[in-house]
């Protein structure tokens, strides 16, 4: 992730989403180390040390009767009561959490009570796991990693489509409809094409040239074509061909239309920041080849080739 980029914002939102989405039984530790009420504090010290844990639920005949932590052990040591029983030092009726609750509820409970761990029970009251703040962090990281990995695979698949699908000439055709005089949605075709090319793994500089050229072509269709038109992109591994085609009115003087600054666009188009006769020269500047054919009363076909 780039620092300060929009990706970072996405990531934070993703984390917030996961906190509400992940359930406690997806991140908790299932193998719970427990002690008995008659376990001595000296035995407890060894159990905590050997298992590298900082606390344990206290079980009697299959029922949880309390919880004991390393803090209780320190207090016992201070009091010179290392051979005392867990039963005398444990916290009775410990705060628990249900396995089907969300991580968010656990985070709140940890925040409210300041406990180091929470025993996890099912709806029948059976102890099914134990949860620490470390479990939550690990669970979230694991999940983020899985999501990231899936996204990577997804991207890899898209960018290797031309290697995976073998033929003598593989091409991908993307067709976008452009509505006449629709300046609310004008730009959506170019925007979608841009995103598709990013997905396919095209270089950012090339994507930009294609985006600018197709946006200008789309704008031309929206401004001039009586019935709108089609923006068709044919993507091949080495080059992309973009064709903007309409059914009229056609251009009277193609030579003149290609001159920078020549425009027949109405004022309302100019108010939107277009129609200054720069569109075709912009398209030309972005493309490796450009052809414009038109017949008045029949239609116009603009073909652009950009090498990838």
């Amino acid at each position: 992730m780039l620092p300060g980029s929009s990706d970072q914002r996405v990531e934070v939102t993703k984390l917030q989403e996961l906190v509400y989405e992940l359930k406690i039984d997806q991140v908790m530790t299932r193998q719970v180390i427990t002690v008995r009420p008659d376990t001595t504090m000296r035995q407890l010290k060894e159990i905590l040390r050997l298992n590298r844990i900082s606390g344990a639920p206290v079980m009697q005949d299959g029922t949880m009767v309390g919880i004991i932590s390393i803090e209780d052990l320190i207090k016992a040591l201070e009091a010179g009561d290392i051979d005392g029983r867990v039963a005398e030092r444990m916290a009775k009726q410990p705060q628990t959490i249900y396995a089907d609750e969300t991580i968010m509820q656990a985070v709140n409970t940890f925040g409210r009570y300041g406990y180091g761990r929470l025993p996890v029970i099912d709806r029948d009251g059976n102890l099914v796991g134990i949860l620490t703040q470390g479990d939550i962090a690990r669970g979230l990281l694991r999940r983020l990693e899985i999501d990231y990995h899936e996204e990577e695979i997804h991207r890899y698949r898209a960018s290797h489509i031309f290697e995976d699908i073998a033929s003598d000439q593989t091409g991908l055709i993307l067709r976008y409809k452009v509505q006449p005089k629709d300046f609310v949605h004008c730009g959506e075709a170019a925007s979608r094409l841009k995103r598709a090319l990013e997905r396919l793994g095209a270089k950012p500089s090339v994507v930009r040239r294609i985006a600018v050229a197709s946006y200008e072509a789309e704008t031309n269709l929206a401004i001039h074509a009586t019935k709108g038109g089609d923006l068709i992109a044919e993507v091949q591994p080495e080059r992309i061909r973009i064709v903007a085609v309409d059914t009229g009115p056609g251009i009277d003087d193609v030579e003149k239309a290609l001159q920078p600054g020549f425009s027949t666009a109405p004022d309302w188009i100019r108010e939107l920041g277009f129609g200054a006769g720069m569109g075709l020269s912009n398209i030309k500047a972005c493309s490796d080849e450009m052809r414009l054919e038109s017949k008045p009363g029949v239609g116009t076909r603009l073909e652009i080739i950009i090498c990838i």
Partner: protein, 135 residues
């Protein structure tokens, strides 16, 4: 220059709700003609404009514009703000004219973005008044 610095220099207003003010702009361009904006080459550029319609955001998206400053005290309509939100393009506003807003940023060493090579070549080839600019 960070967006936070830009805001301070132009004594501007932030329009977008969620903006990463530490984002860096390398260059800037001022234009009310969107086709001209599309003719500038550099991605990561700050666009200064007096136009406020959603096509400004579309243009920014295609051209790789990093953020938009609306000049002359203009504020964009809701649909422009919504589209900018969707495309994650920060919107800022300045009460100063295009000339002064640009001047303030230029004086603070924010460089101008460049033109497409073809456009620049055209200038060299057709700069003389005796030459017909039509090609």
């Amino acid at each position: 220059m960070t967006l936070a610095e830009v805001l301070a220099i132009i004594e501007g207003k932030l329009i977008s709700a969620k903006v990463d003010l530490s984002a860096e702009v390398m260059t800037a361009c001022g234009a009310d003609l969107m086709s001209d904006v599309l003719a500038f080459t550099h991605a990561g550029t700050l666009l200064l404009t007096g136009l406020t319609n959603p096509q400004v955001v579309r243009t920014a998206e295609m051209a790789g514009i990093l953020a938009i400053v609306f000049v002359r005290g203009k504020l964009p309509p809701a649909e422009t703000i919504a589209l900018a939100e969707e495309k994650s393009i920060p919107l800022l506003a300045s009460k100063y004219t295009m000339y002064e807003t640009c001047g303030r940023l230029y004086s603070a060493n924010l460089a101008s973005c460049g033109l497409f090579q073809v456009t620049a070549d055209n200038w060299c080839n057709h700069a003389s008044p005796t030459t017909n600019p039509a090609s």
